[in-house]
């Protein structure tokens, strides 16, 4: 159902959900992000990859409102958001997770998600209802009374995902969400994210190192190196480009 909706939207020429244009950031002597431009279409999954130090995290943080870009523009559904504070970014419709998971440790799984749900629902009961729906969708409902700090890492990642989803985001930013997980757990997360995208129409931007996940999920990939974009396109095509192979993937990845 949602797939055909997305297809119709493309035909009708819907705006890209996220536009990043000419964004740069310099830290004293280091040009961390160098004039990066890309668009994320509504309903798609977009991945940003590259070696460590390529500027992925800085780029991520600029979209998430943690850092202000030196120049350039970032727009969500046409409205400019560069320079907004993180809480403002969320209110505009961008949800995010953290590279080193940060659930609220002393609170229960359910309360964690309730807090996310309260962004658009003042009433505690309504928020709790929505939180339960989200927990159901992510198969965490059975653990809803458990205290967050007692969860395993994959569960904590799903909790953080649930919490961000509860804010009803239009765009979800994922910061190396596959890191530290075993292949089986990665596959599970991939299927969860794929489902959210297909059935829920959720647009996702992910920073990722785990190529298995990138290939399985992303419709388009952007490769960063030394802060600049060196390739963009569908994953299979990008991964074969010589520049990308040389700077990041290594010849073995092609085998």
């Amino acid at each position: 159902m949602a797939r055909s909706k997305a297809a119709i939207e493309r035909l009708v020429g819907m705006d890209d959900l996220l536009e990043v244009q000419g964004v740069s950031k310099r830290f004293r002597g280091l040009l961390a992000v160098d004039d990066v431009t890309f668009r994320v279409p509504q309903g798609s999954i977009f991945a940003v990859i590259g070696p460590n130090g390529a500027g992925k995290t800085t780029l991520f943080n600029m979209i998430a409102g943690v850092i202000k870009p030196d120049c350039g523009r970032i727009a969500l559904a046409g409205a400019r958001v560069e320079g907004c504070r993180p809480d403002e970014i969320c209110r505009r419709g961008i949800g995010r997770t953290f590279q080193l998971v940060r659930p609220f440790p002393a609170l229960s799984v359910e309360d964690n998600v309730v807090i996310g749900a309260m962004l658009h629902r003042r009433d505690a009961r309504a928020a709790r209802g929505h939180a339960r729906e989200v927990l159901e969708r992510l198969d965490l409902i059975g653990k809803r009374s458990q205290i967050a700090s007692t969860l395993t890492l994959p569960d904590r990642k799903r909790l953080e995902l649930a919490r961000a989803l509860a804010t009803d985001p239009k765009l979800l930013l994922l910061d190396e969400v596959m890191a530290g997980m075993r292949p089986g757990e990665t596959d599970r997360m991939v299927s969860v994210l794929g489902e959210l995208n297909r059935a829920g129409g959720l647009t996702i931007l992910l920073i990722e190192h785990v190529m298995r996940a990138v290939v399985a999920l992303a419709g388009r990939v952007l490769v960063l190196h030394h802060g600049a974009a060196i390739a963009e396109g569908p994953p299979e095509a990008v991964m074969r480009e010589p520049a990308v192979v040389q700077s990041y993937l290594g010849a073995e990845a092609l085998a």
């Binding site: 993180p86 809480d87 969320c90 940060r102 609220f104 609170l107 309730v114 919490r163």
Partner: protein, 326 residues
Amino acid sequence: MHRLAGVYGALAILLALLCAVPFFADDYLLTVLITILYLAYVGQAWNVMMGFAGQLSLGHAIYVGLGAYAAAVLYVRFGIAPWIGMLAAIAIAAACGALIGYLAFRFGVGGVYFAILTIAFAEFARIGFDHFGWVGASAGFFLPVANYARNDLWNLRGDPAMFYYVMLALAAAAFALCHALLRSRTGYYWQAIREDEEAARSLGIDTFRYKMIAVVISGAMTAVAGVFFAFYYNNLFPEQVFNISRSIEMILGPIIGGIGAPFGPIIGAFLLTGASELMQNILAAIGFDVPGAKQVFYGVALLVVVIVLPGGVWPWLAARLRLSAS
């Protein structure tokens, strides 16, 4: 779930018992209970900032002092009743809290530095009032005490039993307020901020705004205690009212009882005052009633509790009774 109903049932019985106390208690017991209820109240007020929003204030005496002086001066100089003067007290304390909060949060002062900032403000107020001639400076400010035939609730003049009921009502109201706040969106947001401020921001929470709300509510609530303080003790000395030991005394209850839950400050107040009085009596009985003796044992008891029960008594108790700790 029915265990929780059991706790509320127990609370209701406790409240009923407390209401009945003045009928069979002597003035000494009433005084002790007033102290307990006072500490439970201010502990609850302080807990809003610390236990809910995670901001450590070590200068909370400033709000007591500001509230006390505001209401006292309005009463003595302008004949304004304390219940009206309370509004001024709340306004002044709220403004002070807003100032401290604004300075601290806008400039990114947190943790230990914030705590020291609050100490600095309280000390500044103490010395300032020491030189504030219009309210008596260091010589003190006095409310007229007269032997009234009957209690005057409107002007807070009366016998210990009257003050007891006022304090009991305030403590109960504070408990109810905190309980309600915790279950509101503001309460949830406070907990999020306390747990992880950056993660809270990523969920759309305007952390500056909510921290300010906590500071202002906490300060305003504490100022009401200040009004009570002024009319109960009838004399105000900056050295005593704004003193750092007042600030410390205020927070022992919640820390020992348990930060974050409305039960914590109440349990803490009962345990601490009870222990203090018990020690006083024991020492008198064995003849070692030297100045400082009681405090030494008090300090040791504090040490032991904080080492053995780092989260406070209430979480430990709640775990024993198998309830959730909030």
